[in-house]
Symmetry: C2
Subunit: 420 residues, 2 copies
């Protein structure tokens, strides 16, 4: 495997003003391409430090990828270091990037100032990959410190992430990378340790060249990633298919997607395919479920709307939860969750509805410990309720309540729409 | 200033599975304590790499702070390296941390296994700060590579962040740190460049020992942080007060808090102090405003609830927006924003209401470009509407719409409740 170092440049990271998410996105893409990230570094906008760091890392890695330090104001520092490190003798203007500078500033209604034009200038040893999303070019320097390659990416996250496919393609075109295949399986509703136990016989019997990774996330559950490095891609693809065929029956409805996905996408796909609609009644989750559902482009095809009934009065007057039901059972209870789901379903006229009522924290109430949630789901199969108790802080409890509600809804949709 | 290096240890970061947020939180706290973070590093669970990296960084920094590599399964790697680097001759059990291990596992209903007990063992040269939030101890090693100090923190984010105050206090107790004072001012509704121009005369006239930092954030606007390093704290505090007294009239209602805060907290404080209630009607923001408001503990005192009316049918049937108004003006329009705010206010009986209708993307409609939002606010001063257009992707447009709505609401509350 090839070794790589990812290096972010910018004082804003060292003073804690900005969290570096570029390195993580880059690392994921590199690792999936079969490149080993050896270390990540963040350094300041300081020419001496940048030069010393780049020279060190180039001497011990095949690839060095930098992000940041290329804005119109800081340009000269990093670019000058790159010119020195690459042995460039001057700067040249790259016509493709220059055109992009003009196009971007025009679209923002801004004048092109001299420091904008300077963005299209690169050290003469640089190859340029035109940045389609910003004014700073993506620069490639080859054969540094022997045979190392340096990629210099802009620091703006969507520009850095946008550059990843081109970088990975360029690496592939110049380095003998092993072929590598990944398949993702999304699982929700089981702890990592229990999942590991459940599929242990299958995992233990995997061919030695197949590797399984558990990638857990509060909102999306566990991503199981099966990988094969090297060998014949076509043959490997068939061999992986065969292994997944053995895995799927073990997972049953815990499996919710056979690609990298989210619960809100899985729910949306089910609804869209069957032309059905959804509404949501939230209490403790305070709008997160609606937010997750509407974060999927095209969700207006199936999502009618939601009511966040934070006050008891709104549960009664808007959702029609009877005051008696609240008085008799408490607001965090199965009958209230059921009445909320039924209430929003009849209010919006949706085919399906899901609801939450719970205690995210910091405190519990007289009936329930903090972390308790009741979830209601209503549709053509009738209304059902479920309860969970989590032991996290307010923020993570809210996320887990929302994910659990989406998963309860998904299981209900599977039964109602697919008879599973 | 003292130089520090922050080093995270763990393969999960290098493969992009986890975003490192610990380094940023540590950096912010160190910088505010007057310590200069010189570089950040992420390395894998590899004894050779850990040892080489720690020795290098200890030789060129006064402080090295590590997070991670101390879980019950990985324990031996990092701890063995720390034992070697510190010249320890063996391990000792720390009674305070041992008690914590028992207490934490008991509270989770788990048995104490041998690898849990090993968590309380530390190299004999380590001083221990008991980790109140987890089983792995916080270790301090002094006088390494001359006079450097190494702090080893757990990797779990809430444990690492929880350790920060104790670490900073320990550094203060052992290093001659300059006194340092910070004051924060939160500003919303102006671009960074325009703000910088607006307050340039004031900023240029600041005493030379006062430093101003602009810390921008999509959801909370710009945090202005004024700092003084060194000198007499009491005298400096009075001098900063004097400067802020000159700044505040320049900012007017752009200023929303005189401490590190958020718009949803500022709105909540205003409502709580005056015993007033709020409801929200969302379309394009899809639940984010309700989520932000309810993320403030205690928000149930003033937040009654919200309606996310994604479908036109819900705008009409639940919020009572007349079909004619939608047909005549389009759904993204001032009259619809006004009717939504009025509708949710009358539905919930709240004192105030705010609404959004817009196009977050990816596409616009026949009347408006993508990024357009109309915001309505309704209360005792009547109903008002505002429009903005942003040029970001879907996710950031949604955040900016939500922040703008909270700010519009805040300005309305200032006028209605305080006569400003």
């Amino acid at each position: 495997m090839i070794d790589a170092c990812i290096c972010t440049i910018g004082d804003e990271i060292l003073i804690g003003q900005v969290v570096d998410t570029n390195s993580s996105r880059l690392a994921l893409a590199l690792e999936e391409a079969g490149i080993h990230v050896n270390r990540m570094l963040s350094i300041g906008d300081d020419a001496t430090q940048i030069e010393e760091t780049l020279r060190t890392e180039l001497s011990r890695n095949t690839l060095v990828i930098t992000t940041g330090g290329l804005g119109p104001t800081k340009d000269d520092i990093t670019k000058a270091v790159l010119a020195r490190v690459s042995g460039s003798e001057g700067y040249v203007t790259h016509p493709g990037q220059l055109e992009m500078v003009h196009r971007i500033l025009r679209s923002r209604g801004l004048d092109v100032l001299p420091n904008n034009l300077a963005q299209a200038q690169v050290p003469d040893k640089a190859e340029v990959i035109v940045n389609q999303l910003g004014t700073a070019p993506i620069m490639v320097f080859r054969n540094l410190a022997g045979d190392a390659t340096l990629y210099a990416l802009p620091g703006v996250p969507h520009e850095a992430v946008g550059a990843i496919p081109a970088i990975v393609a360029d690496i592939r075109a110049h380095q003998p990378l092993e072929s590598i295949l990944h398949r993702n399986i999304m699982v929700y509703g089981i702890a990592e340790s229990a999942l590991s136990q459940k599929i242990a016989p299958w995992e233990d019997a995997l061919p030695r060249d197949m590797h399984l990774a558990y990638l857990p996330n509060t909102l999306t559950g566990i991503r199981l990633r099966l990988s094969v490095y090297g060998g014949d891609p076509e043959q490997n693809s068939a061999r992986m298919e065969e292994q997944l065929g053995l895995l799927k029956p073990l997972l049953g409805s815990l499996l919710y997607a056979e690609e990298d996905s989210t619960l809100e996408k899985a729910v949306g796909t089910l609804l869209k395919e069957h032309g059905k609609t959804l509404s949501v009644a939230e209490s403790c989750t305070g709008g997160v479920i609606a937010h997750l559902i509407t974060s999927v482009p095209g969700s207006s095809a199936y999502f009618l709307g939601s009511v966040t009934s934070y006050a008891i009065s709104v549960k009664e007057s808007v959702l029609g939860v009877p005051a008696r039901v609240i008085a008799e059972n408490g607001v965090v209870s199965s009958p209230v969750a059921a009445a909320m789901a039924e209430g929003v379903r009849s209010l919006t006229g949706s085919d399906f509805a899901v609801s939450t009522t719970g205690l995210a924290g910091p405190a519990g109430d007289e009936h329930n410990p903090v972390g308790t949630v009741w979830i209601g789901v209503s549709g053509p199969l009738g209304t059902r309720t479920f309860t969970y108790c989590y032991k996290n802080d307010r923020k993570r409890n809210i996320e887990r309540f929302a994910a659990s509600a989406l998963n309860v809804l998904r299981e209900y949709l599977l039964e109602a729409l697919l008879g599973r």
